[in-house]
Every structure is written in structure tokens, then in C-alpha cells.
């Protein structure tokens, strides 16, 4: 397994903003030649090939780079983001990331979930990215509120200043125009509020109401669903097989 050696300079990229507030990603490798999207386009409020988005109406979106398959990574990685962003995990809207280079697991060097490594692979990168976002919000708030940066308190998705609380979203637009913060401090192990605590899984409601979406639940036009016909007796084998009786499928490579 290769060593995780993120270049700090490229650790965080500030992506497109206007209209969408602050959008952050953590492509850890410089440039994304194969990227299907123009990351620097300023007119894209929505950039799914990134990890984090804070909108002006205070929605916090996280694009989960690993697959949830029962191991709880939906909750786990979201918790990492929440911890450093200073929001409650429930405040974050989680989306499954589409296939994209940016989302590849850096220790496995591909977009793959397995090997029990999701937390170890993402423990620092995601926290760093969220911490950077938090500091950008702080800097924006300081400017916008005309307050000294050091006196702003960030907690539960709000910036406190002189007894007043302002949601992060108020500062998202400005934050998107500020110089990127690359190495905001991340918390020490003893300072965690969410990491290491037991909590209801964030997808518990979806998985208890039949609304969690699995691969088999996706409908696309002309999709055929095939299921294995099993022998009614143990060890039985087919006697005959008429290939011609099957519908002909067009296989796309």
C-alpha cells in the first residue's frame, strides 16, 4: 500500500462559486487532466466533483467518496467533516459521489471501497478540507462583520460575534472569493466532539423506512433485470437450454 503523501499546496482547491456559495474539494494531486468538468469555471454553483459545498441558504452538502455498504462509512466520514467544520453531523446533507478521479481513495489509488481502509485513508484529508473550509468561513465572517478574526466563535454551523449568531451560509458567497486556506489547524485527538462518540447512524431512518437507495433500485430506460433461475432441487443441473428463446440484449462496453 502506498504512503499517503498529499502535497499540502494542492491539498485543497477552491472550485467554482458564484451562486453556489463555497465549494471545496480535496483533489490531492495537482491538476485533473481527465476531469470531465471544468473545476475552475466561475459560473458553476454546483460542482459534484468536489467534496463540500456550503450554499448561501446555508445548506451543507458533502459528497461521500466511499460506498456505504453497512460498514457505516456514511456516518463515519460525515462525522469527520462535521468535526472540523464545527457543525453537527445531522446538519450535513450527504450525497454519494459520482465516479470521478477526485474521489479516488488515495491509499488504494482508485475509487474503491474495501480493505477496511475508508477511515484511515480519509481521516486527515477530509478533516483538513473541512478545517480549511471552516477557516474560510471565519475569514469571510471577520470581513463581513468587521470583527477581529480571533474573536469569532464557530460552533454548530454558526459564527458567534457579540452575542449574535450567524449561519455559515451568510458568509458562503464571500468565502468563495477569498484566498484559499491550505493548512488550517485540525483538532487534537482529545478535542473531538463527534469523533469517537456513539451516535445513531445518519442513514438509520432511510434504512428503516425502505428509502435507502441500493443499486437494484435504480431505473434507467430500457433496463432489463435478470435474475438467476435456480434449480428446485439441490444439485440439479439444466437439461436443455434454448439460447434463441432469450431476448437479445445490446451490451454496451
Amino acid at each position: 500500500m502506498s504512503q499517503l503523501t498529499p502535497s499540502r499546496r494542492n491539498f485543497l482547491k477552491l472550485l467554482g462559486f458564484t451562486g453556489g456559495g463555497l465549494v471545496l474539494g480535496v483533489p490531492l494531486v495537482a491538476g485533473c487532466a481527465a476531469s470531465t468538468r471544468d473545476h475552475n469555471s466561475k459560473d458553476k454553483g454546483f460542482t459534484p466533483s468536489s467534496f463540500l459545498q456550503i450554499t448561501e441558504d446555508n445548506e451543507i452538502h458533502f459528497y461521500l467518496p466511499q460506498d456505504e455498504m453497512g460498514q457505516g462509512i456514511y456516518t463515519g466520514l460525515t462525522t469527520l467533516v462535521a468535526e472540523e467544520l464545527e457543525v453537527n453531523p445531522e446538519q450535513i446533507q450527504v450525497h454519494f459521489a459520482p465516479p470521478h478521479k477526485d474521489f479516488r481513495n488515495l491509499t488504494l489509488e482508485m475509487q474503491l471501497t474495501g480493505g477496511s481502509n475508508s477511515i484511515s485513508a480519509w481521516f486527515r484529508p477530509l478533516r483538513q478540507s473541512a478545517a480549511n473550509a471552516r477557516e474560510l468561513i471565519r475569514n469571510a465572517a471577520a470581513q463581513q462583520l468587521n470583527a477581529p478574526v480571533t474573536q469569532l466563535q464557530l460552533q454548530e454551523g454558526q459564527v458567534s460575534w457579540r452575542g449574535k449568531k450567524h449561519p455559515y451560509g451568510d458568509f458562503a458567497a464571500l468565502a468563495g472569493t477569498l484566498p484559499v486556506v491550505e493548512d488550517a489547524p485540525i483538532k487534537k485527538n482529545g478535542d473531538f466532539r463527534h469523533i469517537g462518540k456513539s451516535r445513531p447512524r445518519l442513514d438509520g431512518i432511510a434504512k428503516s423506512t425502505g428509502t435507502a437507495v441500493f443499486g437494484i433500485d435504480i431505473d434507467i430506460p430500457n433496463l432489463y433485470r435478470a435474475v438467476v433461475v435456480r434449480s428446485p432441487v439441490h444439485g440439479g443441473i439444466p437439461k436443455q437450454f434454448f439460447r434463441g428463446s432469450l431476448p437479445r440484449f445490446q451490451i454496451c462496453a
Binding site: G70, D203, G204, I205, S208, G210, T211, A212
Partner: protein, 177 residues
């Protein structure tokens, strides 16, 4: 044309009579909460209520539900109106991947609708044949036991808790949501 009740609504479908109910629900009515696991009645992922009983719908031809009432996980409760068992599932972190849980919940709710004080053995009997690859059985059992207890003691029944309506053993006289 086959007519039945689906989650309280009258519906009709024009579909080959031997189509398993599961696929009618998933592909025709687009209710995707009930899952396909084995197609052989062996895993329970596809379970729904048929006139209040939990049945394996992957081997249940749609023709056999004509005139009957079908309830799916979508009809059991929703995020803003959870069935007490769903609440207990969440509280106990019962699901892992979640794939088997719709079926598990349908059998558990069919059980409690008929028997609010199930013994351990009765729970095992009602839930047997529900395969959970993630091995969530102990939490499921705990959630069922806790729910039965909560529903039994009106005093401790939180506001909004209601009893399943089919084959009611006791009508909920408590506060309604």
C-alpha cells in the same frame, strides 16, 4: 386485470398473472423499499403484509392477491410518521447495510399487530427465515422486545406511538399524533 389494495389504495394492474408480487410492486408501482434477495422464498427480503400476514412476495404470484390488501414498507411508516418498530430500529442502530431490513420490519410488525407480548420463542418463530448478511439479529430482537414493552405500557407510550391497525389487539386510546 388484477385489482387489490396497496397501502390503503385501490389499484389495478394488467400484468401476466404469474408475475411475482414483488416485481409488480417494484417495477410497476415503483415502490423500491421491498428487496429482492433470493427469489425462492428463502431470505425474507421481499416480505410484505398480505391481509396482515407477512408473506414472501418473490414467490407469490400477483393473481393470488386479487381482492386482498397488500402493505409494503412504504405503507408501514415514513420519516415523519414512523411506526414504533421503525423508531426502535433507529434507536437501536439495527440496520447495517439495510438490505434485509424492510422485510424484517414487515414480519416484526405483522407479529406485533397480533401479539403484543410475544415470548422470545414467538419472536424467533416470526423472524426465522429472515436472513441478514450483516448479522443484525441481536439488535433486531432487542428492538422488537423494546417496542412490545413500550406499546404494552400505555403510560410510557410516547406521543405519536400508535398500534398497527390490522388485527388490532388493543386500540390505542392514548394521545394521537
Amino acid at each position: 386485470m388484477i385489482s387489490f389494495q396497496l397501502n390503503g389504495e385501490d389499484v389495478s394492474v394488467d400484468i401476466p398473472a404469474d408475475t411475482p408480487l414483488l416485481w409488480v410492486i417494484r417495477d410497476y408501482f415503483k415502490l423500491k423499499g421491498s428487496k429482492f434477495g433470493c427469489g425462492k422464498g428463502l431470505c425474507g427480503a421481499c416480505s410484505m403484509h398480505l391481509d396482515g400476514d407477512s408473506v414472501r412476495t418473490c414467490i407469490h404470484p400477483v393473481s393470488a392477491v386479487s381482492g386482498k390488501s397488500v402493505k409494503t414498507i412504504e405503507g408501514l411508516g415514513s420519516a415523519d410518521n414512523l411506526h414504533p418498530l421503525q423508531q426502535a430500529w433507529i434507536d437501536n442502530n439495527a440496520p447495517q447495510c439495510g438490505y434485509c431490513q424492510s422485510g424484517q420490519l414487515m414480519s416484526a410488525s405483522a407479529l406485533l399487530a397480533k401479539n403484543l407480548s410475544p415470548s422470545e420463542e414467538e419472536i424467533d418463530n416470526a423472524m426465522k427465515g429472515h436472513i441478514c448478511r450483516c448479522g443484525t439479529y441481536p439488535r433486531i430482537k432487542k428492538a422488537i422486545t423494546e417496542t412490545a414493552k413500550a406499546l404494552n405500557s400505555t403510560a410510557s407510550r410516547p406521543v405519536g406511538y400508535y398500534l398497527p391497525t390490522e388485527n388490532n389487539v388493543q386500540e390505542d386510546k392514548g394521545e394521537s399524533p
